[in-house]
């Protein structure tokens, strides 16, 4: 199982980096916490959104976790650009690591950061009264969903990095991808509320499936849709890994 071993090494690298510098984890948590503490209660007080009996802040907590995961992952390409400008990528190319392992391994290491983010957001959500299903297996499954979904978005980011070679342009594109996906998903409101066009878009929006999976595992406990969500995430990941591996050739030129 060499490819698996390769990915584990890359994950270990990321864990070691985080261990030496935790500051970024905390600063990145500021934005999701604002959504939870300010946006959630204020919108919830309006009682304008039908959430199926779930308090509004509880309803959006999975959406906020997923949004935070998507941002971390989409900006992961900045690390790849940095590794390309330095000699790290060149050096990795001259090791026995297959190129696909480099792409998937580097992508999955963004899953490590997203997982830590989730571990910061969930306790804060619980503090302000969000009821998380008290089942450790469900919670671990939700972590796995975030971890693997993060890899898919990081692979998109590797693809963008292969086209945009400057950091500044990259930042703009990253925002321009995640915000529309976020607002056209079920993160802040149920899909049923959307106009038909958005509803159709939502059905091909990977974020909707990820949010749905995390929401069912953490908040509602209704796992009926979970197999389909997981299938959609798996297809999304594989497709993105393939695209990123192909575009990777452009990065190293």
């Amino acid at each position: 199982m060499t490819p698996l071993r390769d990915v584990i090494v890359m994950v270990e690298l990321e864990l070691r980096r985080i261990r030496h510098d935790r500051a970024e984890l905390y600063t990145r948590a500021v934005q999701p916490v604002l959504w939870l503490v300010v946006f959630g209660p204020v919108m919830g007080a309006l009682r304008a959104i039908p959430t199926g009996g779930v308090p509004y802040t509880d309803f959006i907590t999975p959406g906020i976790i997923v949004q935070s995961m998507a941002f971390i992952s989409i900006f992961f390409g900045l690390t790849v650009i940095w590794e390309r400008e330095s000699g790290i990528l060149k050096k990795l190319l001259v090791t026995p690591l297959p190129r696909s392992s480099i792409v998937i391994g580097r992508s999955m290491s963004s899953g490590v950061r997203s997982t830590f983010q989730m571990l910061i957001i969930v306790p804060i959500a619980m503090l302000i009264g969000v009821r998380i299903i008290p089942n450790p297996l469900y919670f671990l499954a939700a972590i796995a969903v975030i971890f693997f979904a993060s890899g898919g978005f990081a692979a998109i980011s590797v693809f963008i990095a292969s086209i945009m070679k400057s950091r500044e342009r990259f930042m703009g594109i990253g925002q321009a991808i995640i915000m529309p996906l976020f607002f056209a998903s079920n993160a802040l409101y149920p899909v049923e509320m959307m106009p038909p066009i958005l509803k159709a878009l939502s059905s091909v929006n990977p974020l909707s499936y990820i949010v749905d999976a995390v929401r069912s595992l953490l908040i509602t406990g209704d796992l009926a849709q979970l197999p389909m969500d997981i299938a959609a995430i798996a297809i999304f990941d594989v497709a993105m890994f393939i695209i990123a591996s192909i575009s990777f050739k452009r990065i190293i030129k």
Binding site: E12, G87, K90, K91, L93, V94, P96, K253
Partner: protein, 332 residues
């Protein structure tokens, strides 16, 4: 002895426009230290990236330790060590952790990992800072860490792209001492790119001269210097004095083999400089050219380069080098 590197007719064209290599042929003897000497932009890095299997050549083919760089890439990657020109370690983890990650990438078994890493760090003189973040290392220490991680697998051939660029003279010396002792111990072939003549002169057994994407001459340092022949007269002139016609006349002076004009100095290569000097001075005087200073020396690698490439290697300041490298990278 079989060649460590055998490259034939290598052409590399970037994006259908830039011709970085233009039919480079090169053979490197096993277990020697080989220097590829050439100015910035001559194609050194491109050739090394092809030899280390990072990209295929547009035309031609190359063998490294008997394996084809395109078809046998995976075999080559298991036996080469490589230190790129730019920094290639993670600065936000420790030196030891960098080595550990590379040891795992190479699949070094866990029971021998710790000992191998400790030995490698000890050998390169980094034991004391092994548990410090690489961010706190000096440039020389980072280079040594990179070399240590390239040596972790005891490679059959070690590729170093401008190994001492940006280092002060002391740090350069330490890097080379470590490389030389490793080479003595393991008989590894060392292939390095440089645009510093002194470095090629001091540390290389064999040298290849590269200019505008072609290897124009290879040989031992002594052979190359001998091939220039005789001695070198260096004349400092008032600028803007010499036309092509006068250059021809200079080349015709008794004992003169070659004359090359630089920005403000004239280099004359002669079998016997003392015989050539009066004739050269007479010609210059007769054309009204003021000679400020004359010096005589045995040929250096710079003269070798001058003879075969037609230009001198510029000696830019090292900081300017790095700035240039960074710019080139950013431009992509």
């Amino acid at each position: 002895m079989p060649s460590a590197v055998d490259a034939r007719g290598i052409v590399k064209v970037y994006e259908g426009k830039v011709r970085a290599l233009d039919g480079a042929d090169l053979q490197v003897t096993s277990e020697k230290v080989f220097a590829l000497l050439g100015p910035n932009g001559s194609g050194k890095t491109t050739l090394m990236r092809i030899l280390t299997t990072q990209m295929p050549p547009t035309e031609g083919s190359a063998l490294v330790m008997g394996h084809d760089t395109v078809r046998g890439g995976a075999d080559i990657r298991r036996i080469v060590g490589y230190v790129p020109q730019e920094m290639s370690v993670w600065t936000d983890i420790t030196g030891y952790e960098n080595m550990l990650i590379y040891a795992k990438i190479y699949g070094i078994p866990s029971e021998s990992r710790r000992q191998l890493i400790d030995e490698a760090l000890e050998g390169i003189g980094l034991s004391e800072v092994a548990d410090k973040l690489v961010r706190s290392y000096s440039g020389g220490m980072i280079r040594r860490l990179e070399i240590a991680s390239a040596l972790l697998i005891s490679p059959k051939i070690l590729f170093l792209d401008e190994p001492t660029i940006g280092l002060d003279p002391m740090a350069r010396k330490v890097v080379w001492e470590k490389l030389s002792s490793f080479k003595r111990e393991f008989g590894t072939t060392v292939f390095f790119n440089t645009h510093y003549m002194d470095e090629a002169d001091l540390y290389a057994d064999e040298i290849g001269i590269i200019s505008r994407g072609r290897i124009i001459r290879t040989g031992t340092v002594a052979e190359l210097k001998r091939s220039v022949g005789g001695e070198v007269l260096l004349l400092e002139l008032e600028p803007d004095g010499i036309g092509p016609q006068l250059m021809e006349q200079l080349r015709a002076v008794a004992s003169v083999k070659e004359a090359v004009l630089g920005e403000s100095e004239l280099s004359v290569i002669a079998d016997d400089a003392e015989t050539a000097l009066p004739g050269v001075m007479r010609l210059l005087d007769g054309s009204g050219i003021l000679v400020r200073k004359v010096s005589m020396s045995a040929p250096t690698l710079d003269d070798v380069f001058l003879k075969y490439a037609g230009t001198r290697l510029e000696s830019n300041s090292r900081i300017a080098d790095i700035a240039k490298v960074r710019q080139t990278i950013r431009r992509g």
